[in-house]
């Protein structure tokens, strides 16, 4: 990790109240200013500023050579980013929507992920692949998916998900400074929904670290990305009704996992619920549940419960709110684990 590059640019910025999209934009800007090898590539990232405006203004500031509007071909984007990384650049690739990543899947899995191993470390792939993920925006097919399990299952990739503007700002810079390829998942329905105080002079949490976002005693609730907000809302609701007290975690990093804080919690609570939008079977929750079982077997009072997207393709948007995990489904699982 290039810590020097991160600290070099911090100072004069003042605290701002920003959306996730703006925080990511600021993070990209800091990273580009810190290291002229950082390039942005993707569909509509330049003149338009990205369909979600995450790269807004960056082409004007850094030029078309560093903010590249590419042809509309995802494998081409990632494949040329591989070549740029070979040449010493640090490409930050935007995949416009989660469901558009599959044409690039071969390049990501067979080239990006394996180059370090193949070359015995002589050809690192310091690349960030940004993917707006998750549902809830009323979109058509392919625009609301949660493909993280595909990448968690691929050795050689690192996979992280931010859940709020402050993390977005720091985690993106840390991912860009990382010498390994990072799949960077952004909860798209939160890009413009709500702001947070961003203090660029604060010390960030390391990239590959899980964070407790609310302390509680009865049930450990584990999530990441867009569902962190759901879980926090559930925890508040439960507390407001004198219900069970939830110990809520934002995983932040999905590969590698950082599960020690989770184990510590489950050893106290004896109960865990994992929440994500990705499909259930072999989703991240399956791995988290397995590891909790391995590490906390004698502390468990109930099987680990999962609240997830179902094993169906993402549904038509008029019923997506029923398909997605929500406050009620989370609390239902909490109740079931307590009643076990």
């Amino acid at each position: 990790m290039n810590a020097a590059a991160l600290t070099a640019v911090r100072p004069e910025a003042t605290t701002q109240n920003v959306t996730l999209a703006k925080a990511l934009n600021l993070g990209l800007r800091e990273a580009m200013a810190a290291d002229d090898k950082v390039l942005l590539m993707g569909e509509d990232v330049g003149t338009l500023g990205g369909v979600f405006r995450v790269t807004d203004g960056l082409k004007a500031e850094f030029g078309a050579d560093r903010v590249v509007d590419t042809p509309l071909a995802e494998s081409g984007i990632v494949g040329t980013a591989v070549g740029l990384a070979m040449r010493g650049y640090r490409p930050v690739v935007e995949i416009q929507f989660d469901g558009f990543v599959y044409p690039a899947y071969d390049q990501i899995v067979c080239q990006v992920a394996k180059m370090h191993t193949r070359s015995h470390g002589r050809v690192p792939m310091p690349m960030v692949i940004r993917i707006p993920f998750g549902g809830g925006i009323g979109a058509v097919e392919h625009h609301s998916e949660s493909p993280e399990a595909q990448f968690i299952h691929t050795p050689g990739l690192k996979v992280v998900a931010c859940s709020n503007p402050v993390d977005g700002y720091w985690m993106l810079q840390q991912a860009i400074a990382c010498d390994d390829p990072v799949i960077f998942l952004e909860p798209k329905r939160q890009y413009h929904s709500g702001k947070a105080e961003l203090d660029p002079s604060a010390d960030p949490l390391p990239l590959f670290a899980t964070r407790r976002v609310r302390a509680g005693d009865d049930v450990t609730v584990i999530s990441y990305g867009p569902q962190v907000k759901t879980c926090l809302t559930a925890a508040e609701a439960s507390a407001g009704e004198d219900g069970p007290s939830l110990d809520v975690f934002d995983l932040r990093t999905l590969s590698p996992f950082d599960l020690e804080p989770i184990f510590e919690s489950v050893r106290r609570t004896g109960r865990a619920v994992v929440v994500h939008e990705a499909h259930r079977t072999l989703g991240p929750g399956a791995e988290v549940a397995a590891r909790i079982t391995e590490e906390c077997f004698f502390s468990l009072e109930a099987p680990v419960h999962r609240v997830t997207g179902f094993d169906t393709p993402y549904p038509p948007s008029r019923i997506e709110h029923q398909w997605l995990p929500d406050l009620d489904r989370v609390l239902d699982a909490v109740d079931r684990t307590l009643a076990f």
Binding site: P71, S75, P91, Q107, T117, H120, R122, P155, D179
Partner: protein, 397 residues
Amino acid sequence: MSERALSAVNVPTSRTPSPVRGVPTPTDPDDRGSGGAPMVQLLTPAGTRVHDSEYDLEFTVEELLAFHRDMVLVRRFDTEATALQRHGELGIWAQVLGQEAAQIGAGHALKPQDFVLPTYREHGVAWCRGVDPVNLLGLFRGVDGGDWDPHDHNIALYTIVIGAQVLHACGYAMGMQRDGVVGTGDPDVDAAVLAHFGDGASAQGDVNEAMVFAASFNAPVVFFCQNNQWAISVPTTTQSTVPLYQRSAGFGFPGVRVDGNDVLASYAVTKAALQRARSGEGPMLIEAFTYRMGAHTTTDDPTRYRTAAEVEEWQRRDPIARLESYLRSEDLIDDSWLAELAEEADELGSRLRTACKALPDPDPLSPFGYVHAELPAELAAQRDEYAAYLASFEDAR
């Protein structure tokens, strides 16, 4: 599907090989082995020096002898590796036999600052980049992924996924543009990328996307397609119904077919294309029209899909024999020169045999160390768990 259904969708039920489609035929009217399309050739299959209006070059004696020596040594290396596979020392080998002229010609056209993206069959190009053949063997023996530093030799590791590296080539060339090493006019600075692929890969999306990107960004990349007529068992006509070099027109840059069994023409055309790219004039497609004399790999049996007559016809166009014939006719080599070269080839073969057998198996724990620049704690834990398991057997003994 019934015949009626076939005709309804206008699919021909039989196809007569047509010279326009790039099918090599023994009845090639001009005996140039061109498949009937225009093709740059400077040395005929019989070894007669001919001239080309666009790509002609004068060659020094040193150049001609180097071409010959390199082709002979690479063929020997290739033959030796095939034998090593038969002896069980390699798991598999992809022979370059028959394609030496295309590769040695292209390899000699490179400057040190150029960069090469190879397939898994570019043994001749790797040779020209100064990669020790021993370091190619690890991939095929199953001990590593190719043991050379791409930055030391300016040639990437072999890529096995068909066509994936062509996009890398384009990206690398885009990096060169950003580094300011294209079109400066300084011959020691200006650089380009040579992207290798085959007729089979020409059907891949990645190759076509690379051509789109290269054209749009005017990237200094030379697409070097060795059309060796067969993608394992499938003929080039299934990949393309037009001669492959013509594909470039649709992308907006020039393409040319060169006799890939003619080292002089392969060198001349690649040199021109690279120089064009280095000077900032953008990408170009070269179709090196050649033939895979061996099997696809040592696991393949080409007698199942091609005729002995076809192989014999291409044998007649052998790249080394034609250059040798020319060099003899010009009194540039003699028996003693050839004998010396044969001795050198024997030494190379012997060194390769010994070195191949000496390549150690990797440590079973070594894969864990190569996955990431920063080894995650959980992967370190997996490694330690496996190490402890392995150690438990040692304890038991």
